[in-house]
Amino acid sequence: MPPLHFSTIAELSDALAAGKTTSVDLTRAVIARTQAVEERVKAFNSYDTADALAQAAASDARRAAGLSLGPLDGIPVGIKDVIAVTGQPLTASSKMLANFVSPYDATVTEKLRKAGAVIWGRLNLDEFAMGSSTENSAFHTTRNPYDLERVPGGSSGGSAAALAAGEAIATLGSDTGGSIRQPAALCNVVGLKPTYGLVSRYGLIAFASSLDQIGPFTRSVEDAAITLQAIAGHDERDSTSVRIEIPDYRAALRTKKGPWRIGIPREYFGEGLDPEVAAAVEKAVSFYEKMGCEIKNVSLPHTEYGVGVYYIIATAECSSNLSRYDGVRYGHRSADAKDIVDLYFKSRAEGFGPEVKRRIILGTYVLSSGYYDAYYLRAQKVRTLIRQDFLNAYDEVDAILTPTSPTPAFKRGAKADPLAMYLCDVYTIGVNLAGLPGISVPCGFSSGGLPIGMQLIGQPFKEADLLAIAHAYDSAHDWSRRTPNL
């Protein structure tokens, strides 16, 4: 078994059950590792060791009393700093919320507590989850543990990097256009974006409400199944959460064995795709073919419009969602406002970073009088076509396999142009627009030693099948178990 801080949930839950370790020992190991590497990785905005150790002690006490809550009991799980945890900071990596302390728990936080997890640390991100590199954090840029000069991806860069660096056993992120899957690919971890509506968004700071979804980062597909089990399910506080029966995802990894029909969309293998990424993904395709899966070419003809549709819908929704950050009830308030309107103008100008401002401006523009039909309404219609493309493909295949990111991790500062950064999400955006589940699974390394991930896209609410397909590959390879030299 690897060191505690690099072990999987599956391994650790066995060790805890067998009395080979305790949650306090495990949590101490994670804290020690964090203190050793965090100066270089900078994955966290804050962490509270006393609080984590108290939770760990409570977990050990439960276990000693024979009241263990399941495989997550006693496991330290890091939380992206857009998900509310009572009594802990909730900053969205924004100056606007630098001093905000949450008076409530997000539903996923509550669910993790019910599963016994040790809620651990607030993880860095692109401010308000807007970005693909974590460079837009108002506090600091998180580094890629595989190359500290490179970005970890984003927006959930802190969640991916912390896990890759051994600073947590699992983490939660949020994904609006690829914010879980892309950093997972760039940091060599598994990242799952569930079907829209499977996991409650209550307590997740909204970026684009119709696209946002919380999901786990883990060291294996099996761990993703375990974590998803804990956080999935209907929540009466989220009107968009869906009432469905939640299957046993971990059991499905063993019961669902294929062979499956796997679709390869040609639109995802064109211009802009790094050849090493293409080669690694092709190898994964061959693996499935060898295990007896039927590989089919499928077409998603409206793919090229995805980025445009996304940047209309996401910015429109964010321009409205971020109106509440006005310096009135909480958050940054400008010290020299002369009246209420000035207070809004200055507090928001001082509290938001450039990317957030840019998206608020774009979103305000596309909703403004005279432009709604041309932009927002049209984007919603093209969104319907994009969604229909996927549903048509699912008449013929069980899952779609693509690269997660066109390239491995890029250097910090390499994408100063917003449009170039937006195009990082070209393979992940369609999944959010269609509301589908998608998972990024490590599938190799570049010649420069940078991780490469592949994306599997499933059918709505069929996470059990998607995880089983991903597990077939992950359990037959050791990519996801490799660790960086830090």
């Binding site: 829209y196 968009t240 419009y305 406002a337 809004y344 319907t384 076509l385 969604r387």
Partner: protein, 96 residues
């Protein structure tokens, strides 16, 4: 003329209640023009008869029964307030 030539950054910033510096205005205008040019592609798509998607999986009538539950204490409600007095939030005098 493309639709975004008339992107009036002052009008939009005013609606968004965002004070922008002259440098930001110039920079954002140029960057947004780029993005909007990319977005212009959407005009090529035939959307005749296509219903807009507001929700990926629309369901109807998601509500709760009218039962009052306890809320936040005044202390918790005002815990993060930048300025408060008499259990209320203080803002610059609002002239109606």
């Amino acid at each position: 003329m493309s639709a975004h030539d008339d992107l009036n950054i002052d009008r939009i910033a005013n609606l968004a209640r965002l004070a922008l510096t002259p440098e930001e205005k110039v920079k954002f205008s140029a960057q947004l023009a780029d993005v909007l040019t990319n977005i212009e592609k959407l005009k090529q798509v035939d959307v005749t008869g296509v219903e807009p998607t507001a929700h990926a999986f629309p369901i109807y009538n998601v509500w709760a029964d009218d039962v009052a539950t306890p809320g936040l204490s005044v202390e918790a409600a005002l815990r993060n307030a930048p300025e408060k007095r008499d259990n209320m939030i203080v803002v610059p005098k609002v002239v109606e």
